[in-house]
Symmetry: C2
Subunit: 216 residues, 2 copies
């Protein structure tokens, strides 16, 4: 007589892909600070310790997530000018932060020294070189553009949830009375203005690079 079939409640075996999917879901649902190996295990129907068979640490899971998201970024068509290609990549990079606002801080602050990150850096540096820059100009311009996009990603998303706001904020009424300029400017700090504001700085920086338009 054959053995009884395994109970139907027996779940799929774990793998890196499923763990990453679940991690991103937990982070976007509960926030990055509340993300723990134990909670991730519960989400997957296993013990937290089972994860260590697929990743050496919690940080490795988050890094795998970064690599996956970086790998999704587009390679802009070569027909575009260098400045246009840089614009496309900057906007796609920023868009990732808006798609995963809770994960954004890890995404933005992570160094691009993984394979996917280095591939992107190479691609970006090529844009500057194609625009006529030498190595030094390209490296510094890349850094400048990176500072700007990274700061925007963090500033635009931190309001969404993860609690980096002051613990003892000044009450809104007091702001209106004592900080008139801030109070009036507040309207333009809202999400409705994010795209236009980002474009303002992005355009200024790209123009300042003086990249030669590539013949199409």
């Amino acid at each position: 007589m054959p053995k009884a079939p395994i109970p139907p409640t027996r779940r799929e075996p774990l793998n890196a892909q499923r763990i990453c999917d679940a991690a991103l879901a937990v982070i976007e649902r509960d926030g990055l600070d509340a993300f723990s190996t134990r909670k991730l295990g519960a989400e997957l129907g296993c013990e937290a310790m089972s994860l260590y068979h697929h990743f050496p640490s919690k940080a490795h899971v988050l890094d795998a997530l970064v690599d996956r998201l970086l790998g999704e970024l587009p390679d802009p068509p070569a027909a575009l000018s260098p400045a246009q290609r840089l614009r496309v990549m900057a906007l796609a990079w920023r868009a990732l932060a808006h798609r995963y606002p809770q994960f954004a801080p890890w995404l933005a602050l992570h160094r691009w020294n993984s394979a996917a990150g280095l591939t992107l850096l190479e691609r970006l540096l090529t844009c500057f070189a194609d625009g006529g820059m030498n190595t030094e100009q390209a490296a510094k311009s890349l850094r400048v553009l990176g500072y700007y996009v990274m700061g925007a990603m963090l500033d635009e998303t931190r309001g969404y949830g993860s609690g980096a706001s002051a613990v003892s904020p000044v009450a809104d009424e007091a702001v209106g009375q004592k900080f008139v300029a801030v109070s009036q400017a507040g309207e333009y700090f809202r999400p409705a203005h994010f795209d236009a504001t980002f474009e303002l700085g992005l355009g200024a920086l790209l123009r300042s690079f003086g990249l030669e338009a590539k013949a199409v």
Copy 2:
């Protein structure tokens, strides 16, 4: 007969100032992630719980630190042009991150909705207004400049210690072989070039704002 004097080992009573001093010392010594209320208590020679008599939570201690550091930022002389005043404030803000690199992530990501923060925002917005901008232009330009400075602060300091680098970095030799442009650019990513790189973007953004020079 009078009571015996209190033993000389009895320490100073706690106060907010001493707690903040110790917190900053612990953070810069051990890193922001390793900063805990228990460790702060040990540094001060008291139980972790004693801190709660002076601050309602650990986050409040860190916020008090932000407020103190923001309060140290200079108010540039009115004789300077609006663009020059903005430059002075941007550099002073960035300099704080370099003075306290471990604390920099909290400093940079914290919203300026405390009294000290709002005072600074008011001062910055006044520069844009003095340069001829209306409320909308001033608000958006402030945001743009903030993105840039914030990103630079984080990017320049994260290498110093708190471990936001990839957990599985590509080995240096492999970078040299497979990512030639990145490898060559690496020289210009070093701290020796931080000031010049930051100036590149700062100058570009300030010029793009088209602020009128104020007669001196």
